[in-house]
């Protein structure tokens, strides 16, 4: 096995902590990866630098630092493949561009198939991916054994592994470092990153938003862009704007630090667990959302029990590992398991939400298209299909299950 990589050392000071100005050309609500990437591309691609990113807590303290860091683009539908693959192209060039090694590791992602139907669905997704220029392969158990020797490939388990899709370009990255990398470059270009500043409502004038009310007082804005993940509807409710979103707890857990044993990312939709080994050595495991709505940032123990039972059957070697931490984020889920990115009935208010369980992998891609939408007032071709109107027209992008993991 390869030696453990050296952890990148962040520079001593990454961004300023300015007092908020009274007015900005663009105010972004939320400094998760999405808000920060959007600010970065607003400055870099569109020359818009009079930008504030307002954060109620601390920078990247939301889902950005709670996710299981899996990056892939093997989605079934054309619209999704295009958006997530755009993000993957950007991931590959970002460490050099941001001058920050956030340990993007393209160690490959296996999505297991455990039933005949899943084999057919998975092979269909491979063909669809290939037609869309997304790297994808179907691999049989013999090859899986070479890619991930610790997987239990016995035919005698309850849900034997019948094969898997493999995306070699997929992998993981250190999520908080990604946020810090974007934050530093955005800050260098003049973006104000303001922590401890909760947005509580809006100032409006007819069909325009003129500013936001915050815990640090009112701040005027030419345009307002939401990137508030699970708390989006708390803000849009204040405008009487109803969105097709439900916020749920989504949990994950890590083991103690172990020697490198888990060479790739393994995901199973059917027994529903996904697992990789972080650079430091923890096993990182996740599963599905808790069924009920919740903002408590904690979920139910039985969800974790099931996910660990599934992991143990697939990886018997984990039996001796200790769980060190469990936690939850609040994720906003849409009826078609795809995000909403685009304009609202307010001419200068924009939405980026509904990423549910899978928005980390999109971080640079969504930053790119959202910045375009905010700068030009119209969607980029890649986010055009993701408008709010799809729930009225019926042009849903229904990635439930199709996207290789149940949501």
């Amino acid at each position: 096995m390869a030696p453990l990589p050296v952890q990148p050392q962040p520079p001593p000071r990454l961004w300023r902590s300015p007092e908020p100005k009274r007015h900005y050309e663009v105010v972004i609500v939320g400094s998760g990866g999405h808000g920060l990437a959007t600010a970065y591309y607003l400055a870099r691609n569109h020359g818009i630098r009079d930008v504030a990113v307002l954060e109620r807590g601390w920078l990247a303290g939301g889902n950005m630092a709670r996710n299981t860091t899996i990056i892939r683009s093997n989605y079934l539908f054309d619209e999704s493949a295009a958006l997530y693959n755009h993000a993957l192209d950007l991931w590959e060039q970002l460490p050099a561009e941001l001058e920050y090694d956030f340990l993007f590791s393209q160690r490959g992602v296996l999505n297991l198939a455990h039933t005949e139907q899943e084999v057919r669905d998975s092979r269909r997704r491979v063909f669809a991916n290939q037609l869309n220029g997304v790297d994808a392969e179907w691999v049989e158990p013999a090859e899986i054994a070479e890619l991930c020797p610790i997987l239990n490939l016995s035919e005698d388990i309850r849900y034997p592994v019948l094969g898997a899709t493999l995306q070699r370009r997929g992998g993981i990255a250190k999520h908080d470092h990604v946020a810090w990398a974007f934050a530093r470059k955005a800050d260098e270009m003049g973006v104000d990153l303001i922590q401890g500043c909760e947005v509580t409502g809006f100032e409006t004038d007819g069909d325009r938003v003129t500013g936001v009310q915050t815990s640090l007082g009112p701040i005027g804005a030419g345009r307002v862009a939401l990137a508030a993940a699970g708390r989006t509807t708390l803000l849009t409710d204040t405008l009487g704007l109803r969105l097709p979103l439900q916020s749920h707890p989504l949990q994950a857990l890590v083991s103690e630090l172990l020697e490198p044993i888990h060479p790739c990312v393994v995901m199973s939709n059917h027994v529903h667990v996904y697992c990789s080994q972080a650079h430091k050595g923890e096993l990182v495991l996740g599963a599905g959302i808790d069924t009920y709505n919740g903002y408590g940032q904690r979920g139910s123990v039985h969800v974790i029990e099931r996910q660990m039972a599934a992991a143990l059957e697939l990886f018997p070697i984990f039996a001796q590992a200790h769980v060190i931490r469990t936690w939850a984020g609040t994720v906003d889920v849409t009826p078609d398991a795809s995000p909403i990115i685009g304009p609202t009935p307010y001419e200068n208010l924009f939405l980026n939400c509904g990423w549910g369980t899978g928005g980390f992998k999109a971080t640079p891609g969504v930053g790119w298209v959202y910045a375009h939408t905010i700068a030009t007032g119209r969607p980029h071709p890649l986010n055009e299909p993701y408008g709010l109107d799809r729930f009225t027209t019926g042009a849903l992008i229904d990635e439930h299950g199709a996207a290789a993991v149940a949501h």
């Binding site: 097709p244 709505n293 919740g294 039985h302």
Partner: protein, 88 residues
């Protein structure tokens, strides 16, 4: 793990229940007269409050009946809905 009070069986573990989302979302009286926007609203728009939420649960592993509760989505504190046992 939530401890949920079934009006017929008493306090039981969350694992015995199935979640049904927001309560009191009635099937429209005259769906044929509705425009696309209203129909989309009925199908897809639900409240998503941080705080008290009227919601449905079904005791799938027990008596299999549906009932409503009011739960605080920030604290998970659950109160039986006062307006009667039987869900609409």
């Amino acid at each position: 793990m939530l401890l949920i009070h079934c009006p017929w069986c008493g306090d039981r573990d969350e694992t015995e229940f199935h979640y049904g989302g927001q309560a009191h979302v009635d099937y429209p009286d005259n769906p044929n007269d509705m425009g696309d926007a209203d129909w989309a609203g009925y199908l897809f728009l639900r409240d998503n409050p941080r705080g008290l939420f009227h919601e449905r649960w079904s005791h799938t592993a027990g008596c299999r009946r549906w009932f409503n509760v009011v739960r605080d989505t920030a604290t998970n504190e659950i109160h039986p809905e006062t307006a009667g046992k039987v869900a609409p």
